[in-house]
C-alpha cells in the first residue's frame, strides 16, 4: 500500500494491522469485523506515549479466507511494520499466518477466531472471544435446558475445521448431558439441504445444530422454511449475521444462535456502542454496504471494536510502539469492552464464562435476546 494520508512523517505514526478476509468464503464476516475495527479507529485514532502524540494508522489486508494466501497477506503487514495486528475472522487463516507474525515478533489479537489451536503454543497470539469447546458446550446446555432435547441432529460442513470442530464439541457436551446425536456432513458447494433436513426429521431430532457459514445457513433456513419443519435450528457465532435474518424473515422457523454480543444490551457501554456504530454506518454508504446493506450490529463488529481497543490499551500499557513491548504488556492487559470484561489467561485466551443466546425474530428481521447461558 502506498497510501499516505495528510503529511505525517513515519515517526509520528503507529500502525495497527488488520488481518481479515474481505473476499472468499468468510469475506462477509470479515468485512463486518473490519467495520468494528474501523469504527473503533474512528473513535480513537491517536495515542499519547511518553508525552508525544502518535497518529494510529490502520493497515487492512485481505487474506482471502484462504490458507495459502494468508501467509502472504500476513507478510504484507509485517512489511508495513505494524506494531500489533488484529484478526482474523476464521481460525484456519489465523493458524496459517500465525508463524509469520510469530517469526516477526508481532503480537496478534484475535477477535472472533474460536478454534483452540489459534493460541495454543503461540505465545504471540491472543484472543478476546470465547473458544469453540466453550461455545459447543454452551449450546448443548442450552438445547437441553430450553427444549429438553434428547436427540440432536448435527450438520457440519466437510473440510471446514470450524464447522466440524464446533460440531464435535457440541456432540461431546450433548452426549455428556445424556442426549443422543445424529451426525451428517455436507460437501462444499452443496446447495440442496432438503435431504439433510428430511433425515433430521426422520431421526426424530429435537434440535438441529448446524454450525456453518452464512451461505450454507441461508440455504438451510430457506429450505427448512419451505418444508415447514418445527424443529429449532441452533448454531454458533457465525450465524449472528443479518444474512440469517434476511433468510428467516417472514417464516416461522425457530433459530437460536450463541454469540459474543447482544445488540439489545442495555449496559451503558453496550448501548453507546450500538448507537454510535449505527450512526457511523448510516453516515457512510460504503460501510453500510459492507455490513450487508443494513445497520444491524453483528457480534463480530463488536468484537472487532473490542480487539482494537485492547490493542490500544496494550500499547498504552507498554508505553511503546515496539511489538516486543506490546507483546510483553498484553498478558496483563485488561479492558472492559462492549462484549464484556476482557482479561487473558496464560494461553492468551480471554477468560470468559458466558455466552449470549439470541433468537431470530422472523417478523421484523431482528434478533431477540434469549438468555445469557453459562455452563453447568
Amino acid at each position: 500500500g502506498k497510501e499516505k494520508t495528510g503529511g505525517d512523517t513515519a515517526g509520528d505514526v503507529i500502525k495497527i494491522g488488520v488481518f481479515e478476509p474481505s473476499s472468499g468464503d468468510n469475506g462477509a464476516g470479515g468485512k463486518q469485523e473490519i467495520l468494528g475495527i474501523e469504527y473503533a479507529h474512528s473513535k480513537v485514532n491517536t495515542i499519547d506515549i511518553g508525552g508525544k502524540t502518535y497518529k494510529i494508522e490502520l493497515k487492512i489486508v485481505d487474506n482471502e479466507s484462504s490458507n495459502d494466501k494468508a501467509p502472504t497477506a500476513a507478510a504484507t503487514l509485517v512489511g508495513e511494520k505494524c506494531s500489533v495486528v488484529v484478526g482474523s475472522y476464521g481460525s484456519g487463516v489465523s493458524i496459517a499466518a500465525s508463524s509469520v507474525f510469530g517469526n516477526a515478533g508481532i503480537p496478534v489479537i484475535g477477535a472472533s477466531c474460536t478454534n483452540p489451536q489459534v493460541t495454543e503454543g503461540n505465545s504471540h497470539y491472543f484472543r478476546i472471544c470465547y473458544l469453540d469447546p466453550f461455545q459447543g458446550t454452551v449450546l448443548a446446555n442450552f438445547a437441553v435446558d430450553n427444549f429438553n432435547a434428547k436427540t440432536a441432529y448435527i450438520l457440519t460442513k466437510l473440510g471446514d475445521d470450524y464447522s466440524v470442530g464446533l460440531g464435535n464439541y457440541f456432540k461431546e457436551a450433548f452426549v455428556g448431558l445424556g442426549g443422543t446425536v445424529v451426525e451428517e456432513s455436507f460437501q462444499e458447494g452443496n446447495s440442496d439441504f432438503t435431504a439433510f433436513i428430511t433425515s433430521a426429521i426422520n431421526s426424530g431430532a429435537d434440535v438441529i445444530f448446524a454450525p456453518t457459514s452464512t451461505e450454507a445457513a441461508s440455504l438451510i433456513i430457506g429450505q427448512a422454511t419451505a418444508m415447514n419443519i418445527d424443529i429449532p435450528l441452533l448454531a454458533g457465532d457465525t450465524w449472528d449475521s443479518s444474512v440469517i435474518l434476511d433468510a428467516a424473515s417472514g417464516s416461522n422457523q425457530e433459530i437460536y444462535v450463541s454469540t459474543f454480543f447482544d445488540e439489545g444490551d442495555d449496559s451503558a457501554a453496550g448501548s453507546e456502542f450500538v448507537q454510535g456504530f449505527k450512526a457511523w454506518l448510516n453516515a457512510n454508504p460504503d460501510k453500510l454496504a459492507n455490513n450487508g446493506g443494513n445497520d444491524i450490529v453483528a457480534a463480530v463488529s463488536a468484537l472487532g471494536y473490542d480487539a482494537y481497543m485492547v490493542a490500544i490499551e496494550a500499547i498504552k500499557k507498554a508505553g511503546s510502539s515496539n511489538p516486543a513491548d506490546i507483546m510483553g504488556a498484553l498478558p496483563t492487559t485488561t479492558y472492559t469492552g462492549v462484549t464484556g470484561d476482557i482479561a487473558f489467561d496464560d494461553i492468551g485466551d480471554a477468560i470468559r464464562n458466558v455466552a449470549y443466546i439470541k433468537s431470530a425474530n422472523t417478523a421484523d428481521a431482528s434478533w431477540n435476546f434469549v438468555a445469557i447461558q453459562s455452563i453447568k
Partner: protein, 296 residues
Amino acid sequence: MEFINTYLPYILAGISVGGQYALIAIGYTMVYGILRLINFAHGDIFMAAGFMMVYLSASMPLYISIPLVIILTVILGFLVERIAYRPLRTAPRMSIMISAIGVSYLLQNCAWYLTSGLPKQYPKIPWISASVSIGASTTTVVTLITPILTIVLIVALVLLIKHTKIGMAMRAVSRDFETSQCMGIKINSVIGITFIIGSFLAAIGSLLYFTNYSTVTPISGAMPGLKAFVAAVFGGIGSVPGAVVGAFLIGICENILKIKELDMTTFSDAFTFALLIIILIAKPTGLFGEKITDKV
C-alpha cells in the same frame, strides 16, 4: 407407503435439481458442440442472472424484472462471446479455454466487488415459490414445474437444431468453420446465436434454481456449473439429449446418496465423479457421445 414417504423427498429433490442442471448443461454442451470449448464462464453467467434478479426485482415488479433478467443475461452471454472468445477464433484451443477461465474469474470477482460477497436473498416469486404437499412430504411448486419446463424447453431446442435452417447451420459450423463459410454461413452469427440460446436457458435455470435455494453468492454458479458440466460430459458432451439424461441421472443419484441409511453423504459429490469416471471408462465419450474415430 412408508417407503415412499421416506424416500419421495429425495427423489423429488433429485428430479428438480436434475432439471436445473439440465438447463445449465445444455449451455455447456451446445457451446462445446460448436466451438469445442468448455465454457467455464457458463456457471458464472448463471450466477450473474441470479444477482440481476436480486437487484432488479428490488426496484421493479416481477413481470418486468423477469423478462429483463432474461434479456440482460442473454446480452451478457453474447458479450462474453464477442469480447473473450471471438478474437481467439484461430488461436490454439487451450487459449480459448484459458480465456473462459479468465471470464469466469472476472465475473466472480466483479460480483464480489459489487455485492461485498454477502449472500443475497433471492426474491420470492409468487406461486412457484409456494409450498405444496405430496403425500407426507412438503416441497415447493418450483420443484414440480422444473422438470416439466425443462423437458418442454429441450424438446423445442431439439426441434430447432434438427429441423430448422439455423439448426442445420449450427450442425454444419460445429463440424467445420471454413467449409461452412464457403457455404455462405456467417459463423460468427451462428456462434452468437448458440451463446444466446445457452444464456437464455441459463437464465431460466437460474430463475428456477435460485427460487428453490433462495440465496445468491458470487460462487453460487461454481458448483451447479461444475455439476452441469459433469452432466454434459456424462451424457456425451455435444449431445443435447445426452446432457439432459446426464443431468437428471446426476441430480437423482446425488440426492439418493443423501439418504441417511446409505451413510454416503460424505461422498455424494465424490460419488458423482466416481460414477462419471466409471461411465467414461466404459464409454470413453459419455453415454450418447459420438465416438471420436481418428480416421487413419
